[in-house]
């Protein structure tokens, strides 16, 4: 077991450089440490100017997504012991603009999330006083998986389509739209269909499947997109054959 390991971290200080550079730090190797612990050690003891996002350190807030040796990971859930003997390369997530060091700009995702209307849409709202909308455990099961998304953006960083066509709505946004489409309490599937079946919606996806591979919460966004393609296509065929149908 080595006593130290090298961390090669991508740096970007827009006030004095126009391109990212990299810096290597030698940090203690502890088998209980995750990559985030190593980054914090750098920040606390070696170089306070390293900027990165983190919060919960238990894999549920989605702040700490970064590329570790080229693969998008949650650094709070990635152990140093997975990478002997080093050096371990840490870079910001791909396909998002880099603001500083390991921090990327996420405004594109937040905008896209809002576009898919990720809220319960109902024709008529019942007042809460009248009790809950009934939903059986099986009905809950149909969309449960897609509701586990922590918005960590690893899927966007893994999606080459998003890299080549930044206007693509993206895996997480579509998975979240599908989460609401399949919720038995929601009645907004038609509204979301318009946005999702646009050019930059689901049809940009060519099922590379990398998003599902890197997802730390097993949301399976690729599955969500392909399932929705089936729904959208069926809907289109039906609207062709029965144009007078109201839904």
């Amino acid at each position: 077991m080595p006593s130290t390991v090298a961390l090669t971290v991508s740096r970007y200080r827009p006030e004095r450089e126009s391109e990212p550079t990299s810096q290597t730090y030698e940090i203690p190797f502890r088998k209980d440490w995750v990559v985030l612990d190593a980054l914090n050690h750098v920040k606390d003891h070696l170089d306070g100017s390293l900027s990165f996002r983190w919060s919960c350190r238990m894999g549920v807030c989605g702040s700490c997504g970064m590329k570790v040796n080229g693969t998008p990971k949650l650094t709070c859930a990635t152990f140093l012991s997975e990478y002997p003997p080093g050096p371990i390369r840490i870079e910001p997530l791909d396909y998002f603009p880099v603001v500083r060091d390991l921090v990327v700009d996420l405004t594109d995702f937040v905008r896209k999330l809002q576009q898919v209307k990720p809220w319960i849409i109902r024709k008529e709202e019942r007042p809460p006083g009248e009790g809950e909308y009934l939903q059986t455990p099986d009905q809950l099961d149909t969309y449960k998986q897609f509701s586990m998304c922590i918005n960590c953006m690893l899927c966007y960083s893994a999606c080459p389509i998003y890299g080549l066509e930044p206007s693509f709505i993206g895996p997480a946004a579509i998975a979240l739209a599908q989460r609401y489409n399949m919720d038995s309490r929601d009645q907004g599937a038609t509204e979301r269909l318009k946005i999702l079946s646009e050019h930059d919606g689901i049809w940009q996806c060519t099922f590379v499947g990398e998003c599902t591979k890197v997802c730390p919460k097993h949301v399976d966004p690729a599955g969500a997109i392909q399932q929705y393609k089936l729904t959208a296509a069926t809907h289109w065929v039906r609207s062709l054959l029965l144009p007078w149908g109201s839904r």
């Binding site: 306070g48 100017s49 900027s51 549920v60 709202e125 809950e132 059986t136 449960k144 586990m148 922590i150």
Partner: protein
């Protein structure tokens, strides 16, 4: 100086903050409401809550029972009128959240399912597997996207409250992505910034819980109430401090010492039964369970590991099927961070700082004594949790009081005239202070990590589960020293773009102020009540201390404690009885 304006400004984008914003947007649709948060709202610490949220909906339950459980759980320090309002509004708030899409677990017939929880006599805790906070927060966040009136300022770090003519009229904040200082003027401000667990070294809390709002209100003259009451959650993982939800015990888990013995039975918490009995043994209140751990440790009956003492939480007898259905996240966390499968092995656990009962003093509408300033959630202290919070009351609290504070702040803002432009001068002064004392300072000798570690050591020693006079007195002096040493801080990072060292320094200064109030309040409360246990005053003293402590800031940085007697309405103080 770039100025933004709005009518109601919510500081903090967690459960309470987002609920407050929606409340303003719904009750006063013509007002502009803004949510400002130092992280994106879905990163707020609400996301880590696991167990559930309590509200009375089943036929066998009653509001009075919930109120009594809460008040006795809080060792009678709760404001009883507030508790009554809380239990009364809880069911509707929770149903509203269900309507907004929260995936609550269901019974086979489609109705909401409830589970038992610590300190509650009847099952009333709603849950969404064991990631209730995550689902709650994401449901709230996604619902806020529906309202055009809600404007968000994501990754803006608030450094000061703007107070003019005796009213709070906005904030000064650093826009992290550019480093620019902005002034945001508002007619009412609601602080929903959460607790301050990071003041302690071993905590379930995320990095962002630094008591920001508490310190901001404290510096603006509002008092902090009941700061000495720090909740230690009995089951956290050693080393990381990651929370293992109380639901594991509610579903039937056992706490075993190193002899494999269910040690809680030795401490007047009932007799061990194979199935969990409410308000007994492992379903007792959190403060008592944490205290039992310390006593077991003193008797030498706990395991000793590389990261301190621990005991075992055994859920193997619940079976794989139940664990995967109701405790999947617990299994995931154990596999990942301890390398054990709770279906086959026992989980090492120990008490860990989890929640702050204390906070900014508010009335039952969320208003602080400073006009225009409101607070809700863990940052506030209404108080409904008293000296010890019952599990699953907090997630409901953020909804009920987030909504109340939102409505009250909206009503207040609707009556105010436009703000005084002279506030900009205050904001410019703040910008200068940030630059001179931190960003462009040279020659300082202190480092953030050193001061932080010192603070952690002091708080761990003095404000642990058991406290005593001499150690607390020393702690007050030591924290004061740290506050002085803070003035000599030097930063490696003098740049503007996303400077997280600057924000870490500001967070440290907030934590030092909050730490000061904690040790000072703990020192002056010479009794033992709920989660504040004094070895030198082991009894509860209702004559002198049936009152909430209020910590006011003094010029020299120390705190002055006053007392506000608790209003007893329907539930006179009694004995806290569990297991019988």
């Amino acid at each position: 100086m770039d100025l933004f304006t709005c009518d109601v400004l919510v500081v903090g984008g967690g459960g309470a903050g987002l609920r407050a914003a929606i409340a303003v947007a719904e009750t006063h649709p013509s007002l502009r409401v803004a949510v400002i948060s130092k992280v994106y709202p879905m990163r707020s610490h609400t996301v880590s809550a696991e167990g559930g949220a309590a509200a009375v909906i089943k036929a066998n339950d009653s509001l009075d029972e919930h109120a009594y459980d809460t008040i006795s759980g809080g060792d009678w320090l709760c404001d009883q009128a507030a508790v009554e309002a809380f239990v009364r509004e809880a069911p509707e708030e929770m149903l509203r959240l269900e309507h907004w899409g929260c995936p609550w677990n269901r019974e086979p017939d489609g109705h909401i399912a409830v589970r038992p929880f610590g300190g509650m006599k009847i099952e009333r805790t709603w849950f969404a597997a064991d990631k209730t906070g995550f689902h709650l927060l994401h449901t709230l966040f996604q619902t806020t996207l529906k309202y055009d009136a809600i404007q968000r300022y994501d990754e803006f770090f608030v450094t000061k409250l703007l107070v003019d003519s005796g009213r709070c009229q906005g904030v000064v904040a650093i826009e992290l992505s550019s480093g620019q200082v902005r002034a945001i003027i508002a007619k009412a401000v609601i602080l929903c910034t959460g607790g301050c667990g990071k003041v302690f070294p071993f905590t379930t809390n995320a990095n962002i819980k630094n008591g920001d709002g508490m310190a901001l209100a404290y510096r603006a003259g509002a008092p902090l109430k009941d700061m000495e009451f720090v909740q230690y959650h009995p089951t956290g993982l050693p080393f990381t401090g990651i929370l293992i939800t109380e639901a594991a015990r509610a579903e039937g888990g056992w706490l075993l010492n190193k002899d494999g013995y269910r040690y809680l039975q030795d401490y007047d918490l009932g007799q061990p039964t194979p199935k969990p009995v409410l308000r007994s043994m492992e379903l007792g209140p959190r403060d008592r369970l944490s205290q039992c751990f310390v006593k077991e440790q003193e008797k030498g009956r706990t395991f000793e590991g590389p990261y301190g003492h621990y005991v075992h939480l055994d859920i193997r007898h619940l079976g794989e099927k139940l664990i995967d259905k109701k405790l999947p996240f617990v299994r995931e966390l154990c596999l990942k961070y301890v390398g054990i499968d709770p279906v086959r092995e026992m989980i090492p656990v120990r008490p860990v700082v989890h929640y702050m009962m204390g906070g900014i003093h508010t009335d039952i509408y969320g208003a602080t004594p400073l006009p225009g300033l409101y607070a809700a959630g863990e940052a506030a202290c209404v108080s409904i949790n008293g000296a010890n919070r019952l599990g699953s009351n907090s997630l409901t609290e953020i909804l009920v009081f987030g909504a109340r504070a939102g409505k009250a702040a909206g009503a207040f803002a609707a009556e105010q005239a436009e703000a005084n432009p002279s506030l900009v001068t205050q904001a410019l002064d703040e910008q200068r202070r940030l630059e001179e004392s931190l960003l462009h300072k040279s020659g300082g000798k202190e480092r953030i990590a050193t001061l932080r570690t010192e603070m952690h050591r002091i708080m761990e020693e003095s404000a642990g589960i058991y406290r005593t006079e001499t150690v607390l007195k020393e702690a007050v002096g030591k924290v004061k020293q740290l506050q002085e040493r803070f003035g000599d801080l030097s930063l490696d990072d003098n740049s503007y773009t996303f400077n997280t060292e600057l924000t870490a320094a500001l967070e440290l200064s907030y934590m030092l102020d909050v730490a000061q109030t904690i040790v000072q309040s703990a020192l002056e409360r010479r009794e033992s009540r709920g989660s504040h246990q004094r070895t030198d005053y082991p009894q509860r003293d209702d004559e002198r201390f049936l009152a909430n402590s209020l910590a006011y800031r003094v010029e020299d940085g120390s705190s002055r404690i006053e007392y506000l007697p608790v209003t007893i309405t329907r539930w006179p103080p009694g004995k806290r009885v569990y297991g019988r």
